[in-house]
C-alpha cells in the first residue's frame, strides 16, 4: 500500500502539488489522471524520492519514505518506470535487465528467464542495443526491468505515450494481469484516461496540483463532469 498524506511540492514559486492525499491499495491498480501539468509526474517522482516535498508524507505500508534517497526507496521495493521509459539506449536489452536485477533477491538467471517468458520479444532481442527497439518494445523493456527486481509497488508514468492503440491495449492487459496474479500495487499515471480506467480499480483525478476526484474507476468513468472538464473525454 502506498499512502500519500497532504503532500505539497513547490518548484520555486510554482506549487506543483497542493495537499495531495491518496491511497493506492495493495493488489489494486490506482489510476492518476489529469491534463498536462496537473502534477501527475511530480507525484510519482516525489513517491520515489527524486523530488523532495515541501510538506506532507509518503509511506509504503507503515514505513515513511519521505526524505529517503531514491536508491533506498527502490531497494524497499518501489519500482518506477519513468516517463519516456528511461531505458539505457547504449546498453543491450540484457544489460538493461541485469541492471534492474541489481536489487533483486532472486537469482539473476531465474529473473531473466521469467521476464523473457513474459515478454518473448525481449528474449529474441537480448543481445541488441536498446536503441534499436521500437517504442512498444522499449516500454516492455522498461517494465520488465522494473519487474525483475520483484517490487511490491510499481509506478508507471504514461506507459501509453507515443504507442499505437493496439500496443497500448496489450500493455494495459499485461499490467492488469500482473496485478491480478500477484500482490503488486500499481500506480498508473495516464493522460489516456479511457484506457487507464478500463483496467484500474480506483482513480484519482488531479487538476493543477490538487485532487478533484478520488473514487472507484467505475464512478470516475461515469462522471460526466469529470470526463468533460478534467479528462478531455468528449464523445
Amino acid at each position: 500500500m502506498i499512502g500519500v498524506d497532504r503532500l505539497t511540492v513547490t518548484f520555486g514559486a510554482v506549487r506543483a502539488l497542493r495537499e495531495v492525499t491518496l491511497r493506492a491499495e495493495t493488489g489494486q491498480i490506482t489510476a492518476v489522471l489529469g491534463a498536462n501539468g496537473a502534477g501527475k509526474t511530480t507525484l510519482l517522482r516525489t513517491i520515489s524520492g527524486l523530488v523532495t516535498p515541501r510538506s506532507g508524507t509518503v509511506s509504503l505500508d507503515e514505513r515513511v519514505l519521505t526524505r529517503l534517497k531514491p536508491e533506498e526507496i527502490a531497494r524497499l521495493g518501489v519500482g518506477h518506470v519513468p516517463e519516456g521509459r528511461g531505458v539505457i539506449a547504449e546498453f543491450t536489452v540484457e544489460e538493461n535487465l541485469r541492471l534492474g536485477a541489481i536489487v533483486a533477491k532472486v537469482p539473476l538467471e531465474e529473473g531473466l528467464a521469467q521476464q523473457y517468458e513474459a515478454f518473448p520479444v525481449l528474449g529474441q532481442r537480448r543481445k541488441q542495443h536498446a536503441a534499436k527497439l521500437s517504442g512498444g518494445e522499449r516500454q516492455m523493456l522498461a517494465m520488465a526491468r522494473a519487474l525483475i527486481a520483484r517490487p511490491s509497488v510499481l509506478l508507471l508514468d504514461e506507459p501509453s505515450l507515443g504507442l499505437a492503440p493496439l500496443v497500448t491495449a496489450q500493455l494495459m492487459a499485461t499490467v492488469a494481469e500482473l496485478c491480478a496474479t500477484s500482490d503488486l500495487t500499481v500506480v498508473l499515471v495516464e493522460q489516456n484516461a479511457s484506457s487507464a480506467l478500463r483496467i484500474a480499480h480506483h482513480a484519482v483525478v488531479l487538476n493543477v496540483g490538487s485532487v478533484v476526484a478520488d473514487a472507484s474507476a467505475a464512478e470516475v468513468a461515469a462522471d460526466e463532469r469529470l470526463r468533460q472538464y478534467y479528462l478531455g473525454m468528449v464523445e
Binding site: S48, L50, K69, P70, E71, A74, R75, G79, H80, P82, G86, I88, A89, E90, F91, E95, R98, L99, G100, I102, V103, R145, A146, A149
Partner: protein, 299 residues
C-alpha cells in the same frame, strides 16, 4: 633479421610503444573520471604523484618495493575518494568552468604541498627490472626488461578495466551511473558511491602510471613528475574521444609512436609542437574524438 630488429625504425616503434602505453594510461584515467562525472580532471597527474610520494617514500625506511607499490595504490584510492567527496561533489550541476578552475587550483596546491614536504629534488626510484636495452649482435634493440614491464603493466591495467566494466555487476552499475544517473537511482544503484569509485579507480590507474614514470632513471620522482606526461595523455584523450576508453588508449599508443619518430627524425624540440598540431587538427576535424560515435549522446 638482427639488422632489422636493431634498425632505427623498429627501435623507434618499440620506444614509441613504451611511451604510448604511458600516455594511454593517463588518457584512460582521464576518461574514467570524465565519463563518470563530466569533470576534466587537471589534477589527474598531481593526485597520483602525491600517492606515489606517500607510498614509494617508504622505500627510505627500507620497506620492500612491492609493499610500497601497494601502499601507493591504497593512498591513490583514498585520495581519489576524498577528492570526489569533498572537492568535486559540490560542483556537480554547476557551470563547466567551475570544476576546471577548482581542479587547476588543486593541481597547484598538491604540487606545492609535495614540494614543501618532500622538496623538489628528484628522488630516484629503483626500477624493478633492468632498464638497459637488450642487445642483439652488440646492437641495442630499443626494448629493455623494464620497458617491456611498462608495456605489459599498461596492457594489464587496461585489460582489467575492460573486464571490470564489461563483465561485472559492479562495472554495469559504474557504466549505468555515468550514462543515466537518475534512472540508475530508480533501479536502486547507489550512484554516489559509483561516482566515488570512478575517481578512486582513476587515481589508482594514475598511481600505476606515476610509479612507472618515476622509475625511469632520467626523471625520478618530483612534484612536477606528471606535468609533461599529463599534457600528452590529455591530448591522447581529446583526440581519441573523452567518452571512449578504447579510443583514448589507442590514440595514446599511436601518439607515443608518432612522437618518437618526430623526436628521432626531426628534432626533440618539435615533439610538443607536433603533439599540439595533432590536437588542433583533430579537434577541427572530429571534435568529439576519432573513436566516439559522432551522434550526440542522450543522457
Amino acid at each position: 633479421m638482427d639488422g632489422f630488429l636493431t634498425s632505427r625504425v623498429v627501435t623507434d616503434i618499440l620506444g614509441g610503444l613504451t611511451n604510448g602505453a604511458i600516455y594511454g594510461l593517463v588518457a584512460l584515467s582521464l576518461v574514467l573520471v570524465w565519463r563518470a562525472t563530466r569533470v576534466l580532471n587537471f589534477a589527474q597527474g598531481a593526485m597520483p604523484m602525491f600517492a606515489t610520494y606517500l607510498g614509494m617514500g617508504l622505500l627510505s625506511y627500507s620497506w620492500p618495493y612491492w609493499v610500497c607499490v601497494g601502499v601507493s595504490l591504497v593512498a591513490a584510492f583514498a585520495i581519489g575518494a576524498v577528492t570526489e567527496r569533498v572537492l568535486v561533489r559540490p560542483l556537480y550541476g554547476k557551470p563547466e568552468i567551475n570544476p576546471i578552475v577548482v581542479m587547476v587550483g588543486y593541481l597547484i596546491i598538491l604540487e606545492a604541498f609535495a614540494a614543501a614536504i618532500w622538496s623538489t629534488t628528484p628522488r630516484s626510484l629503483p626500477a624493478p627490472f633492468s632498464p638497459i636495452d637488450w642487445r642483439l649482435g652488440g646492437q641495442p634493440v630499443g626494448l629493455s626488461p623494464f620497458s617491456l614491464f611498462e608495456v605489459v603493466t599498461a596492457l594489464a591495467v587496461m585489460g582489467a578495466i575492460v573486464v571490470l566494466f564489461r563483465y561485472t555487476r559492479l562495472g554495469l552499475q559504474l557504466r549505468a551511473s555515468a550514462l543515466a544517473p537518475e534512472v540508475s537511482r530508480l533501479l536502486g544503484v547507489r550512484v554516489g558511491r559509483m561516482l566515488t569509485l570512478g575517481w578512486m579507480l582513476s587515481t589508482a590507474v594514475g598511481a600505476v602510471t606515476a610509479i612507472l614514470v618515476a622509475s625511469n632513471f632520467f626523471t625520478g620522482l618530483t612534484p612536477q613528475l606528471m606535468d609533461g606526461i599529463f599534457a600528452f595523455g590529455f591530448i591522447a584523450a581529446a583526440v581519441g574521444g573523452l567518452d571512449s576508453p578504447v579510443g583514448a588508449v589507442t590514440s595514446g599508443i599511436a601518439l607515443g609512436v608518432v612522437l618518437q619518430f618526430v623526436g628521432d627524425y626531426l628534432n626533440s624540440n618539435a615533439i610538443i609542437l607536433v603533439a599540439l598540431a595533432i590536437l588542433i587538427v583533430s579537434l577541427m576535424v572530429r571534435p568529439n574524438g576519432l573513436l566516439t560515435r559522432s551522434a550526440a549522446r542522450r543522457v
